[in-house]
Structure formats: C-alpha cells, structure tokens
C-alpha cells in the first residue's frame, strides 16, 4: 500500500499563486477584447450542416463573420436544457461576447429569461419567441420570419404539379408555427385547385430519422405525390420521397442538391440579411428592436430557384403570387374559412394578414388538411 501523497506547503503556495495569476489574467482578457471589437455568439440545437434549421442559422453566422470588426463564436448540439445556460455563460465570460443568438425555440423560456437579468449590458436575441414588454427583460429581443408565406408559395407549385390531388406534409410537433406552415401549404395548393387535400403526419419529435422516413413512405403509399415537411433536418424526407418518385418542396434551407429532378422549390430562411443588419445596428451604436418580424418583402425569407419539373403555368402563378406577397400584408387565412372539424375560424370579410400576431398562437388545421393537432 502506498502512503497517500501529501502536498507540501511550498507546492501548495506555488500552485495557488499560479491559479490566482491565471484567474487575474483570464479576467483581463475579455475586457480588452470587448473594448476593441464586437463579439457575437451563435448557439445551435443540432449540427450546423443538417440541411435544415441549424444550417440556415449557421449560414447567417457565416455572413456575420465576413463583416469587418466582428468576431464570431459558435457552438452546436446544445440541448434545450440548463446546458444552454452554461454555454451562454462561458461565451460571455471566456469569449467576451456582447451579442448572443441562441437560435432554438426552447432556449427562450426559462434559460434566456433567467440569464438576461444577470447581464444587463449584453444583448440576447432569440429566434421564434414572443417577446412582450411587460413580461420580459429589455435586453432580450425576439425575431422571426413569416415563412408560412414560403410554404404558401410551395403549395402553389405543388398544386400545379400534383396529379393525384393529394399532397403531404411530414411535421414534427403541432405548435403554432408548424400548423401555420401546414395550413399555408394546403391553401397555396387550393388556390390552384380547391379539391386538393393535404395529408399531415406528425412524428412527435424535431429529429427522428427513421420515423420521418416511415411517415414519408406512408404518405406515398396513400397516393401523395408532392411532399414537404417541417422537421429540423429535411434531408431524410427529401431523399425518401424522391426515392419513391414523389416531388418535394424544401424547407429551412435549399435541399435541391439532394433531389435535383424532383425538387420543385423551397421556403428558405435568409438569416444572413437579418443578422448582418442587426450587427450593423449595434456597431453604429443603435438599439435593435425587441420585437422583429419580417417576411419575403423584408428579405427574412427567400424561395429556392424553381426546379426543372415546374411547368410554365406554375411558374407564372408562382411569380404573380410572389409579387402580391412582396407588396406586404398578404393574408392566407381569410374568411369565410372553417377548420377541419367544421368550426368557423374566419367569418366572411375577416382576414389575418401575415403580420397578425394572432397567427402566432394558431391551434387548428384548416378544412382540407387531413390530420389532427393531438
């Protein structure tokens, strides 16, 4: 048996002096870094090259990286748990960031809301949250885009392309943004042919590769011939659907390299524009608005280039609808309209423009969507 190692007083003093020195030095660094340069932190819930949600944000971060006088730190695969608080704290204390973009929906409450009052000099910008002045700290902001309009345009092209008059949607969870996308996709298609129906399958999770593939196969088995989705990484849905011979509409990012012949178009985020604008505002000493929203007109979202299978009639209606939307204030949900249980959601003459905050608490699927929110 060895005798337990004892620490001599001299080595104890040496070590603790060293640690203290490092702490002092480490404490100084961020201060100097903070003074000279704007440092921005991006946090993603999944891998940043997933052909989906996280990739769209990482493309925005890459654009910020190109700007002069800015340094960028990124971390991926950060769960929506207390882990994200640790990541934010370490970005603040070790990398000296002064502007944070925690991009996943679940980061907002409680994680950002807990940390923000501790660091009043920093700015927390969250994607998808619903910031309100009387409930949330003033150094927190929320931003999002009207991507439902993109799914509406997807639907227009899908409506022209579908022969079976059945289109399909692989969805993760029945939250308002997903429901708005499903409804918009169907209504876009119905603007072409009011007999079209949209079959939706919920997988229950943001990323479940095998279940997404099963859902896509089940849709095609039922005669669906155009498929889109709202999951974190659309790669599996696109490849499976195209492999079964169905057409696909993309979501989050441009997935046309995955299915060049079958890809019709796609609703993409354009975070590069949003993020560079926000960084410019901070650099010029301005204040970012706490509640930022935008759509096609503001450049928050964009459409993938139309694929080779899109017909000329479809192209024309796509272009016409897009220019209507670009004028701003376009309403997809307008009366008279019922949900798929027969309840009236908009009386005649009533309409919800894209900017209407009521749409951000949507809890129904419109008539023509085959599916249920629970």
């Amino acid at each position: 048996m060895k005798t337990p190692k004892q620490t001599s007083r001299r080595s104890f003093l040496k070590t603790s002096a060293g640690v203290a020195g490092m702490l002092a030095f480490g404490g100084l660094l961020p201060q100097t870094a903070r003074a000279s340069k704007l440092s921005v932190g991006f946090i993603y819930v999944g891998p940043k090259d997933d052909y989906g949600y996280n990739q769209s944000h990482a493309e925005g971060a890459a654009a910020v990286k190109q700007m002069p006088g800015v340094s960028v730190v990124e971390e991926e695969n950060v769960p929506e748990t207390v882990d994200v608080q640790k990541t934010m704290e370490s970005m603040i204390n070790f990398d000296g960031v002064n502007l944070l973009f925690p991009t996943s929906f679940g980061y907002f409450n409680p994680h950002i809301l807990e940390l923000a009052p501790k660091y009043p000099d920093l700015r927390f910008e969250h994607c998808g949250g619903l910031w309100s002045a009387d409930k949330h700290p003033s150094n927190v902001g929320s931003y999002f885009g009207y991507i439902g309009m993109g799914q509406y345009l997807n639907g227009v092209v899908a409506g022209h392309t579908s022969k079976s008059k059945k289109i399909g949607f692989v969805a993760a969870k029945p939250i308002p943004q997903v429901l708005l996308n499903i409804n918009s996709f169907l209504l876009g298609a119905r603007s072409v042919d009011p007999n079209i129906t949209c079959q939706v399958i919920f997988t229950g999770e943001w990323s479940l590769a095998v279940k997404e593939a099963e859902a896509t196969n089940a849709l095609v088995d039922q005669g669906v011939d155009v498929v889109t989705c709202h999951v974190d990484g659309p790669k599996v849905v696109m490849e499976t659907a195209a492999g079964r011979g169905a057409y696909v509409c993309g979501y989050h990012a441009n997935q046309s390299p995955l299915a060049p012949d079958k890809y019709l178009t796609g609703a993409e985020w354009n975070w590069a524009k949003v993020y560079t604008d926000m960084v410019k505002t901070v650099q010029s000493g301005g204040q970012i608005d706490n509640f930022v929203r935008g759509g096609l007109a503001e450049g928050f979202i964009k459409m993938s280039p139309l694929g080779p299978a899109v017909t000329d009639t479809a192209r024309n209606q796509f272009a016409a609808t897009q220019s209507e939307i670009l004028k701003g204030g376009y309403a997809v949900i307008k009366g008279p309209m019922k949900d798929n249980k027969g309840k009236v959601i908009a009386g005649s003459g009533q309409s919800f423009a894209e900017t209407d905050v009521a749409l951000e608490s949507m809890n129904y699927l419109v008539e023509g969507v085959i599916g249920s929110t629970s």
């Binding site: 090259d49 997933d50 229950g204 088995d221 039922q222």
Partner: protein
Amino acid sequence: MSTTVDIGMWGVPLAILGGAIRVSTPFLFVSLGEVLTERSGRINLGLEGTLVFGAMAGYAAAYESSSPWIGVLGAALAGTLFGLLHGWICKFPRVNDIAIGIALMLLGMGLAFFFGKPYIQPVAPDLPSIPLGAWSDIPQVQAALNVNALFLIGIVIALLMTWMFRSSRLGLIIRVAGDSTDAARAMGLKPDRIRLLSTAAGGALAGIAGAYLSLYYPGSWNEGISSGQGLMAVALVIFARWNPLYCFWAALLFGGAGALGPALQSVGITQGYYLFYAAPYVLTLGVLIATSSRNQTLAGAPGALSITR
C-alpha cells in the same frame, strides 16, 4: 412516377409489413451481436455507440470508395475494433463489463460525431435492394417488398447461430464459457479469449447494423440517425430469451409496430398518435407479462453473466 393505386385501409397492414422489413434489420443485427456476446458470458451495453460509429464509418467508407459494400465492410471492421477494445479491457480483474459498455457507448458516439462532421453533407451510394414484390402490379406492394440483402443475411445469421449454439462444437464452447467460467477453465478452455472473440464478432454485427441505417434506410448520415435503436436492441435480447431466432421475431415485431403510428395517420386515423407511437413498448410489456414465469427469473440467461451471477 408510376401512379399509385388507391389502397385505402389496406395501407395499414401493408405499412406494418413494409415497416417490419425496413426498420427491423438494425434491431436484428444488434440483438444477434448481443446474444453472441452474452452467451459467452459478457454484457456489452455499448452497442449503441458501436452502431452509431458503424453508421458513420460505413457512410464515410462508402463515400470515399463509391461502393456501399466496402462501406458495410468498413462498418464491420470498426465494430470489431470496438468489440476487441471492450473484450480486452474486461479481461482485467474486477473490471465491470456494464460500466465499460456505457463508457464505450459514449466514446463511440463522441468519436462518430467528431469524425462524421465532414460526411453529413455529401451523398454516399446506397445499398441496392432486391425487388421481391415485382410480381405485383401495385406500386405500394412493390415498395413494401423491396428487401435489402442485409435483411436476408440477417435471417441466415440468425438460423446459423441457432444451429451453432445447439449442435456445433464452437457453439458449445461459447455456451460453456457463458454458463460457468470455472467449468470452462476445467475443460482447458480460455474463457477470456472466447469472450474477447465473441464480443468482437458481436461488435462487427452492430457495426453492420449502423451501415444499414446510414446506407439504406433512412440512408444518410447525421448525428440523430439512431435515436436509441442500439439500446432497444440490447433490451430485446432479454425479451428474446437469448435465442437468435426469437431475436428475429422480436425485431420484426418492433419494426412493424413502429410503422403503425405513421400508417394510421396516413389513412386518416389521426387522434392520439402519441399513443400509437408507444405501441412497440406496450407490446413488449404485454409479451413479457404474458410469458413471465412464477418459478424462474430470466429463463435462458447464461449463468456467468454479471447480472445473474
């Protein structure tokens, strides 16, 4: 696109059949690998990590060589290495095989994420499938019966392993090592060597399961590709009472039940889909209760396992 026929409610049994064939293969391979390992007297809980690393290694090898079969080989090789590592560490006295398994699971996943970064975007060639449904005019039937060669190989391995454990010299040697370390030593066998090789072969099978995921269904590499299938498969071994043939049926059951949720939604039965997604687990519980015995716990468990010892 060949126009699909309206099959209505027939879509549900068809989806269960198709799902059983498509989804079961990884369960089958991992559980066969675990049966082999546990029959020799070790538990390797790390097969989830081996599966994920195999998926990455297989995808990378297939992409670099443009041949999916080289990918399968690469995945098997990577799995073998993980198995050898597990077997080698567990040979030392007072090492707990369950703890090492968990450590290797985390290591495998971490390494796969680290080395797999550059392979998320590229598209690797897929494994070919055999169109066993070509006799039918209905495209949905054809699609459901598109069977991958690995599925058939899995059935052959299950049959071979059943025969091996029952009536071959090699099978008896493995079983002796698994049932009693002392008896094996008395017979002049080297239990550690037998377990090392069994764990390595089990790892190879788990690696192939990963290659099936990334090269055939769903057929791409990303970090969420497995979502715990390796862990489920290890649990299936107890469900299958350490019998390779039962592993096959258990894997089919799991695959088919997993297809139930999407299939029911696709024919318009949309209420309560979270409940249908729990179907495989409810089924497992049901079967375990139905087959439980008052007299014997864990019937068929090898005697030298650290949980039965």
